[in-house]
């Protein structure tokens, strides 16, 4: 007997493969119709899955190299966003009044369209600066991290185990080590699942706005050079990396937070 979760995965895979086959066959048919009537092939705008795979095989090295640069910037942005969120949550934890100041500001910043910020950021750091990209990435990854960790801090603070800690005269270090850190792990995974794709997206947006390299720049170049295959392949590589990281995080979460779903 196949488990229901395995069966769902098989269905999902079949639907995905079905969509790709439909895309390939549908586009080939429509392109032949268009060319018969003297119009340009659809391939000029939307590459077929076959073209995307071919592009991967030809331009794989370039895509991988540009993607590595982007991931490096995204990692730096993620670390900065995470550290800043941790600092703010720690301040909120020990000085609750900070919450009423910082959280509304964070919500306001998050609701701002990042593209609107871009000229200011580029002016601030200089055209083509890696720091501008890292800043955008940090800005985007900061908010989901803050929201998750702040929820964790409120949840932990409200637990009656904190009363027990007070009665036992536990030190601040003991409370952090025994209560706060272990209880924060599930929230940390949730925040990372949100923040990592956000940081990659932030880095790509930053590269669109002005960079000398990176997958975002490659996407912009392939757009202007009318290379839809390379554009789609670049985009797909970003999606694949994000999905792989989320899958890895899910595995780690299962290993370290096994008690959560018991």
């Amino acid at each position: 007997m196949i488990k229901s979760s395995s069966r769902n995965k098989i269905y999902l895979l079949l639907i995905f493969l079905g969509l790709i086959v439909f895309w390939q066959l549908g586009e080939s048919y429509l392109s032949s119709q268009r060319m018969g009537s003297g119009r340009a092939s659809l391939e000029a705008f939307i590459p077929t899955p076959q073209t995307i795979v071919k592009t991967f095989m030809v331009e794989g090295g370039l895509i991988f190299s540009e993607l590595s640069t982007t991931c490096l910037r995204a990692s730096a942005g993620l670390v900065i966003g995470l550290l800043f969120a941790l600092l703010i949550v720690s301040l909120i934890y020990y000085f609750p009044f900070v919450r009423s100041v910082v959280v509304p500001i964070s919500f306001a910043v998050n609701s701002f369209p990042i593209i609107g910020f871009s000229p200011i950021i580029i002016l601030l750091f200089g055209q083509g600066s890696a720091w501008a990209i890292i800043f955008v990435s940090a800005l985007i990854s900061y908010f989901p991290t803050l929201v998750s960790l702040e929820a964790a801090s409120r949840d932990i603070k409200s637990q009656t185990v904190m009363e027990l800690m007070k009665v036992l005269n536990a030190t601040r270090f003991q409370i952090i080590k025994k209560i706060i850190l272990p209880n924060s792990v599930p929230y940390f995974f949730v925040s990372m699942k949100l923040a990592i794709p956000a940081s990659i997206m932030g880095a790509v947006i930053g590269e669109w706005l002005g960079a000398n390299n990176g997958i975002g720049r490659l996407m912009i170049l392939s757009f202007y050079q009318m290379k839809p295959g390379l554009l789609y392949a670049s985009l797909l590589s970003v999606v694949v990396v994000s999905c792989l990281i989320i899958a890895l995080l899910s595995l780690l979460e299962k290993k370290y937070c096994f008690w959560k779903k018991m």
Binding site: Q159, T160, V161, E163, K166, V167, N169, W259, M262
Partner: protein
């Protein structure tokens, strides 16, 4: 240890909501080591607040709590206060046994063997389960074992047996008696069960909704044979007296 007593003097506490709400009003009481005190009263009359002040978790607006002539804060610093909340939140990432070990880890005790405690609270075979796998009653027993693990001088219990079935509740009440006889702590507990209060206590404090002591009832007779006491005329008379007084609140 003998001669040490708990002295509560002129204790008042109010909460600031839209309007200040007085939950404890000029509360005075004293008891000796080895005595069990139960607090009964309508919901919101300040019973849990009283326990939190006794545990030095909350500060009163006025009044003092002293143990052996010293401020209660000293007793807390010496790890001599046990705390069993109404809804114990155990650490989700720790098994029942590891949760029981937690107070000893905090205090810095080298004795981490909790098998006897697990047996005492009837959790044999369940010690490796995580809180999400435990029933409400089991969690209360873990919380009880946590408290027993460091043998404090003052036990503060907020409806400690409310989630237990009748038989387990009787067993745990028996354990509480054994603890009283052996360690001679002061046990202060909040309950809604008149029978439980009469069965366990030396003193029963009846509180009004305004947070004042309505009456203190002393149960003076000797409860030598526990099983017989539950069926004795004295027990039924005391339950009746407390019930009638509560109806007058």
């Amino acid at each position: 240890m003998a001669g040490e007593s708990l002295e509560i003097k002129n204790l008042s506490k109010s909460y600031q909501t839209d309007q200040p709400r007085l939950v404890l009003n000029n509360f005075n009481f004293s008891c000796q080591m080895g005595e069990v005190v139960s607090v009964i009263g309508p919901s919101g009359c300040g019973k849990s607040t009283l326990l939190k002040i006794l545990g030095n978790i909350l500060e009163p607006d006025s009044g003092t709590v002293e143990f052996g002539g010293e401020n209660i804060a000293l007793l807390r610093k010496e790890h001599q206060i046990g705390w069993i909340p109404q809804f114990p939140t155990l650490l989700k990432n720790r098994s029942a046994a590891d949760n029981i070990r937690l107070p000893r880890e905090i205090i810095g005790s080298f004795d981490r063997d909790v098998s006897l405690l697990i047996k005492t609270v009837g959790l044999e075979g369940e010690e490796n389960k995580y809180p999400s796998e435990l029933s409400g009653g089991m969690k209360q027993r873990v919380s009880f074992a946590q408290c027993l693990s460091y043998a404090p001088k003052l036990f503060l219990m907020d409806e400690p047996f409310s989630a237990l079935d009748e038989i387990t509740r009787e067993k745990m009440q028996g354990e509480l008696f054994a603890i009283t006889a052996h360690l001679k702590p002061i046990i202060f507990f909040v309950t809604h069960s008149i029978e439980e209060a009469v069965f366990l206590s030396n003193h029963i404090i009846l509180m009004t909704a305004a947070g004042e002591i309505f009456k203190t009832i002393d149960i003076n007779y000797q409860k030598i044979d526990r099983k017989d006491f539950r069926n004795s005329q004295e027990f039924f008379d005391s339950v009746k007296t407390v019930r009638n007084l509560l109806r007058r609140l």
